[in-house]
């Protein structure tokens, strides 16, 4: 999908270049993450646009072996779907899981939530109840403190949608 270069994308890229290249991955400047207003997180967009906006095309590795994404295989009520993400990664001040995003591909607002963790958590685990509009893949995207992105996804079958009109 052709999309004009937005100010956000341009600034994000410039910032990332400024910080430098870490292990072949462009590190995201910490300041940019902090400035992301929460309201900017939830937009009406396709999941591709959303992922492009948030991650600016940074490479994502398959994290199926590391990320434990727990979702119900069938959700009778899409209004309340418990999702939990656990990452088998150390939580030390030098290496920890910084952010966990929960993404529901077919929701009108696909980027559901972002959890920012500190090493004090001791374990990279978060859970939340989310809405799903229809049967969809649910993804977890994990950003580690060195900027590595890992992702995994699982499908949830929804019998009654929860996102309304």
């Amino acid at each position: 999908m052709a999309e004009p270069i937005t100010r956000r994308a341009a600034l994000g890229t410039l910032g990332a270049i400024g910080v430098g290249v870490a292990a072949g991955t462009l590190a995201r400047p910490a300041g940019a993450a902090a400035q992301d207003a929460p309201a900017a997180l939830g937009r009406h967009e396709s999941v591709q646009d959303g992922l492009k906006r948030v991650f600016a095309g940074r490479p994502m590795k398959d994290g199926a072996g590391v990320i434990k994404l727990e979702v119900p295989p069938i959700a009778e009520n899409g209004a309340v779907v418990p999702v939990s993400v656990e990452v088998a990664a150390p939580m030390t001040p030098t290496s920890y899981v910084k952010n966990i995003w929960i993404v529901a591909d077919k929701n009108r607002i696909p980027i559901v939530a972002r959890a920012s963790l500190t090493p004090d958590a001791g374990q990279a685990f978060v859970g939340a109840n989310i809405r799903l509009g229809e049967t969809t893949d649910v993804r977890a995207v994990v950003e580690q403190s060195d900027g590595t992105l890992l992702t995994t996804k699982r499908e949830v079958k929804v019998t009654v949608g929860g996102c309304g009109g």
Partner: protein, 110 residues
């Protein structure tokens, strides 16, 4: 809707120093979802939903959630923390209408 902002936080009852414990919390909140008019256009108004949740333990941040309207009504969250000393876990919710709700629970060693 007088119950908005009621918070329940559950921590395990028997905790040993150094344990990684899981804390669950729940807040009563409508988390209004997007409405559409007859033409299918989005009704533009300030929807009341929680945008940010922060949790601290012993005054230090443990986790912060940024939320959207894709999160359920009366949202529930869980997270982990490493219990190093007895003390309070505080959770703060902020919504788009300026509401700020706080809840706390104590980690106590058995």
């Amino acid at each position: 809707m007088n119950d908005i902002g009621k918070i329940r936080i559950r921590v395990p009852s028997s905790v040993k120093p150094g344990d990684v414990v899981r804390v669950r919390c729940l807040v009563i909140h409508p988390m209004e979802r997007i409405e559409r008019d007859a033409q299918g256009k989005i009704v533009d108004r300030n929807y009341n939903y929680i945008t940010r949740v922060t949790a601290t333990y012993l005054g230090k941040p443990v986790v912060a959630f940024d939320l959207t309207q894709s999160v359920s009504e009366n949202p529930a969250f869980s997270f982990a923390l490493k219990a190093t000393a007895p003390g309070p876990v505080k959770v703060t919710f902020v919504d788009t209408h300026g509401g700020k709700y706080e809840g706390a629970a104590d980690i106590a060693f058995a």
